[in-house]
């Protein structure tokens, strides 16, 4: 995992998941609602808005999705016929206690008592990594939220523990 974490997000190709992986599951596009998740151009995204146009002169009923990439915040759009099968990413969020930060990598305490050292400080949003580093260096006790989807893990939030 260490070498994968060092690569950039763009190196990942999500379009071909293997049968055994549960990174994504199929869903009828018409079933995906605002606040849900959807794969757009191979990226896991959170749906910010859906508008549907009923069947008409333009053909089958369509769902027009406005979504935000969950890892880099980019706004993306897609239009899918509501009866088409599209993919929804399996998104998980876990909390870990921060043990150490070294060379930009964090050391996290896992539930089973072991440590996890493969995650880098996040490069999105801008300056977030510095923020975490400073909080840690100020001696605060931090718990980090890690978002997981499609084989990517990324720190997306932190909390100060009392």
């Amino acid at each position: 995992m260490a070498e994968e974490a060092a690569a950039t997000i763009e190196d990942y190709d999500f379009s071909g998941t293997t049968a055994g992986a549960s990174d994504v599951f199929p869903s009828e596009a018409g079933q995906i609602k605002k606040g849900g998740y959807i794969m757009i151009k191979g990226r896991p995204c959170k749906v910010v808005n859906v508008s549907t146009s009923k069947t008409g002169k333009h053909g089958h009923a369509k769902a027009n999705f406005t979504a935000v990439d969950i890892f880099n915040g980019k706004k993306v759009e897609d239009v899918v016929p509501t009866t088409h099968t599209t993919y929804v990413p399996n998104v998980n969020r876990s909390e870990y206690q921060l043990l150490d930060i070294e060379d930009g990598f964090v050391s996290l305490l896992q539930e089973d008592g072991g440590t996890r050292d493969d995650l880098k400080l996040p490069d999105y949003p801008e300056g977030f990594d510095q923020e975490i580093l400073k909080a840690y260096q100020d001696g605060k006790s931090l718990s980090l939220s890690v978002l997981s989807a499609c084989g990517i893990d990324q720190i997306i939030a932190y909390k100060e523990e009392a």
Binding site: H58, G59, E77
Partner: protein, 404 residues
Amino acid sequence: MQVSVSMGSPDTVAVPPSTHETAKTAVLLPSDLLPAETPTVQGFDWNAAISSPEGVTLHGLLGSYLTTGFQATNLGLAIKEIERMRAWRLNDVPVATDEDEDLIDPGVRAQIKCKIFLAYTSNLISSGLRETLRFLVEHKMVDVVVTTAGGVEEDLIKCLAATRLGDFTMAGAELRKRGINRIGNLLVPNQNYCLFEDWLTPILHAMATEQTADGQRWTPSRLIERLGREIDHPDSICYWAAKHGIPVFCPALTDGSLGDMLYFFSYKQPEFAIDMVADIRRLNDEAVHAKATGMIILGGGLVKHHTCNANLMRNGADFAVFVNTGQEFDGSDSGARPDEAVSWGKVRADARPIKVYGDATLVFPLLVAQTFAKDEVLTARKGMGNGVGTGGNGVGECKRSRIE
């Protein structure tokens, strides 16, 4: 007692004319004699026709239109204008001083015909007039077609599913609930458009690939040609146009179901592009390089203006027939009479263009019956489905563009 007098010299005693006399002079004002050759208004002689061997025939009836007056006369004049358009040959005009070397020979000049532009609005393709328009294109009786997006897609959709007859009075909200779209008194179910989408989308993907991989530059006319090949159905105008190399121009290709499909397609393939500039070049060049042109324009709006404007490039068409329901009082181009086109140089000042006021579904089949359908080459070779007819504007058959 003296009666006061109102007019006349002081010497005469003028008596005011009685009311009777005034009225009589007004009504029975002697008229100028019209020239003897002025045609007489004369309608169809039913008795003569019924008692004749052939009985009442369409051609006999239409023959009477010229002298019947009002729009019947205009129809008769339009028939004459189309006959002139079809009969014109380059050897009708003297050899120009700067004429091309290979256009001097009288034998060659006798082969060169007037280039005919056929323009029609999309509602006419939704209607059964589509069959009449297809007939003209099938037999290469026109050289250039100008239409709107609906004029292309309704023609293709009819090969996938039928348009149905309805009624002008069917309630909109009810139809929407049932998923049926109304065009006047015609009905097109949503399902027809779904079939169109399913048919079109893979073709668009292939076209996008050709654009990226082979550098193919798509224009509306090339796209329509491709769709004509893909539909591969003898009922379709686009099919015959592609087969005979007759370009179909549609600058507002996005204004219809095709546009909807392109909109959705742009989410999948944002780089797919359609070049309008190349098409205006192609259309205007068709007019500029023609030795004579005729326009047959059914309807108004874009199809009318775009066709006339192309002919502006050659200082005006030599022949023109407009059939539409437009009125000029609002200053619209749709309602403008041919004389307004003359003021722009879209029709030549010495031409005899004619406008027939009326619904083309009523008027145009009659026009075709008296002109194109009486084509000697066509009627002589009955049963041949290989598109015999007039066409081309060079020596013999000229090769039209394939997908370049």
